[in-house]
């Protein structure tokens, strides 16, 4: 099993953090992982993306050219990466920020209004965790205990109190049924 | 007698100083070139010493160190007997180092020989040459007493080149009233020219590694 997951959106949406939690999820599940961010000017407000590979085998190239899973949180990233997704792969789209639908019929599209849900929950910054919850449910590979363990490793000790609320957001995404 | 050999960079001061030292009895040659660490009296030290010439050089001459410190021995040589030849560094920059010995030099009989090579840039015409000479005089606080025509293009020197250089040296002499001491050059060439001035045939002592015999 190898998942090549591309997270993409605006700087400030927590894209890199989202990928980091996913990497820790792989780590606590005993898998090989790699996490590669885009860095530099993009980090300071432009588009941001990161490549996460989770695999049973040693990770070769850490660069993803054709993701098996794409998580997009803005339109430019959707336009840029939509066609790179491997056939049979997943695209998870924040439908409160991207009104377009995918034109591809060889991938599974999951539309979730993550930003709107986060606002309604009173945690506007956690749309990224809602998206991650959706990805976890799509991949159906891990337990919530493992998610909690991964969060504990990703969040610095000074911000421990945020673990619970992050977990709630992940759960909301996990439970959201976008496929009706 | 103190002979001070000065002039423009690359005018041939060191070769003239070495030849002069070899021609005199009881001679001490002082390498006072604080400007350029290459092609200096120290290169001919062995040859000079085997001909009984005392050689005083900056202590780091011919080492890896670019530090032209002048040795205290110079003062002792100046207070002793015999002939002293100062091989001075190029231009006024090189002549500055003479300044500290001014008092000692003036107490003795001395000659300041200004070497001219008309083939060198910055001494191609009389005005520039005189200007440079005046700068050297100011830096050393000594007056030039003789001009030496050492015009040459190294191995490509011809008698025409020497005679062109003589025209320049004559002009400098006329304008300043400083007498011409000699025309210098390789003996074979000097033999081919006619001149009213004394000839100073040179045997060359500074060479490149590829010119040295095995």
């Amino acid at each position: 099993m190898t998942r090549e997951i591309l997270f993409a959106g605006f700087g400030g949406q927590g894209i890199l953090f989202c990928g980091k939690v996913m990497s820790y999820l792989g780590l606590v599940s005993g898998l090989e992982v790699s996490w590669l961010p885009s860095y530099g000017p993009e980090m300071r407000g432009g588009t941001a993306n990161c490549h996460v590979i989770v695999s049973n085998d040693a990770v070769g190239s850490p660069i993803i050219n054709n993701p098996t899973d794409l998580i997009v949180m803005n339109l430019p990233s959707f336009d840029k990466f939509e066609n790179t997704v491997s056939p049979g792969g997943n695209i998870i789209i924040d439908s409160s920020l991207i009104s377009k639908k995918t034109s591809r019929n060889d991938v599974n599209a999951h539309y979730i209004p993550a930003t709107q849900m986060a606002n309604e929950m009173g945690v506007p910054k956690l749309a990224n965790m809602i998206m991650l919850g959706k990805l976890i449910s799509v991949l159906a590979a891990v337990s919530l205990d493992q998610v909690k363990e991964a969060l504990e490793k990703s969040v610095p000790p000074s911000k421990k109190e945020l673990i619970e609320v992050n977990l709630k957001a992940i759960q909301a995404g996990y439970n959201f049924n976008s496929d009706i | 007698m103190i002979y001070i050999i000065c002039g423009h960079y690359g005018s041939g001061k060191t070769e003239i100083a070495i030849n002069l030292a070899l021609s005199l009895d009881n001679a001490t040659i002082i390498d006072l070139d604080i400007v350029n660490p290459y092609f200096r009296t120290a290169d001919a030290k062995e040859k000079l010493e085997s001909s009984n010439v005392r050689v005083i050089t900056p202590q780091f001459a011919n080492t890896n160190i670019d530090m032209p410190t002048v040795p205290a021995e110079v003062f002792s040589a100046l207070t002793g007997e015999g002939n002293i030849i100062f091989d001075v560094g190029g231009d006024d920059a090189g002549a500055i180092a003479l300044g500290q010995y001014n008092r000692f030099i003036k107490e003795k009989k001395y000659e300041v020989q200004f070497v001219i090579n008309a083939c060198r840039p910055m001494t191609e015409n009389a005005d520039d040459t005189i200007k440079l000479m005046r700068e050297i005089e100011a830096a050393s606080r000594l007056k030039v007493t003789k001009l030496i025509n050492n015009t040459n293009l190294k191995s490509e020197t011809t008698k025409e080149i020497i005679s062109d250089g003589q025209d320049l040296v004559n002009k400098v002499s006329d304008a300043t009233g400083i007498p011409i001491g000699a025309v210098s050059g390789k003996k074979e060439l000097l033999d081919t020219i006619k001149t009213d001035f004394p000839k100073l045939p040179l045997e060359l002592h500074l060479d490149f590694p590829w010119e040295r015999g095995v």
């Binding site: - | 604080i34 400007v35 202590q59 780091f60 160190i65 670019d66 530090m67 032209p68 410190t69 002048v70 040795p71 205290a72 110079v74 003062f75 560094g89 006024d92 920059a93 002549a95 500055i96 180092a97 003479l98 300044g99 500290q100 010995y101 001014n102 008092r103 700068e135 830096a139 050393s140 606080r141």
Partner: protein, 250 residues
């Protein structure tokens, strides 16, 4: 019975100096060695030698020494001090080293209040390379690279390092001295001692600037050089204490 009236300081190595006759490097080396003896710190002292005429300073002291690249002595000293804060570190630098190529290292060592001592020889000329303009060469001074005299519009003004470093919060003891007379030589010795004491007391950055001569490149006899120093350098570089906060706590 003979009485010893002149003795080589123990911290000074038993080798002849290479300096030109009349050069003041020798005097200042001796003063540093005397101070090291007086303070009894030879076994703890590490000196940093510069590039410049004092490039061989590492041969002249009996303490451990490091040679530094041109201008980098304060950075090298910082590295040594941070590796072992109990050692006493001094740098010995000329004007080109300290005030031109190494200005950044000097200023930042001072502003960090790096607990080191700098002995700064200012003779207004580059000696090692044969008499070119120094950052401290005076206006009008003729050097190999200012053949028509240093001109403000071309080369700017000579830099006063003691005054400049004294404005920095981090400097603790800054003094300008001279070695042109017995009285001033004694004062320089006392100032060097105070600078080392400042470091021993962990009070931060100290520097003693010493106005010095260069007979060879100035084209003057040693005696004339001393006159030139007094007549030309002292008016522009006044002697005195520019900073002294060693009395209280920082």
């Amino acid at each position: 019975m003979m009485e010893t009236i002149f003795e080589r300081p123990k911290a000074l190595a038993d080798v002849p100096f290479h300096y030109c006759p009349g050069c003041t490097h020798g005097i200042v080396h001796r003063l540093i060695a005397e101070v090291i003896d007086e303070l009894g710190i030879e076994g703890d002292t590490i000196g940093v030698a510069p590039v410049g005429c004092a490039v061989f300073a590492y041969n002249y002291f009996n303490c451990d020494m490091q040679e530094a690249a041109h201008g980098r002595a304060p950075a090298v000293a910082t590295g040594i001090k941070r590796a072992n804060p109990e050692n006493i570190i001094f740098t010995y630098q000329g004007d080109g080293d300290l005030a031109a190529i190494g200005t950044a290292e000097t200023v930042h060592a001072a502003t960090r209040s790096e607990n080191i001592t700098i002995i700064f020889l200012n003779n207004a000329i580059y000696g090692m390379t044969g008499g070119q303009m120094a950052p401290t060469s005076l206006v009008g001074q003729v050097t190999q690279t200012t053949p028509y005299g240093r001109k403000v519009e071309m080369q700017g003004y000579p830099i006063r390092m003691s005054e400049m470093l004294a404005t920095l919060e981090g400097s603790s003891f800054i003094k300008r001295c001279s070695v042109d007379s017995i009285k001033n030589i004694n004062d320089t010795r006392a100032s060097i001692k105070k600078a080392f004491q400042c470091q021993i007391d962990k009070k931060g950055f100290s520097m003693v600037e010493v106005l010095s001569t260069c007979p060879t490149n100035w084209g003057l006899s040693p005696a004339e050089s001393m006159d030139w120093l007094r007549d030309n350098m002292m008016p522009y570089y006044p002697l005195g204490v520019y900073k002294d906060v060693t009395g209280g706590d920082r």
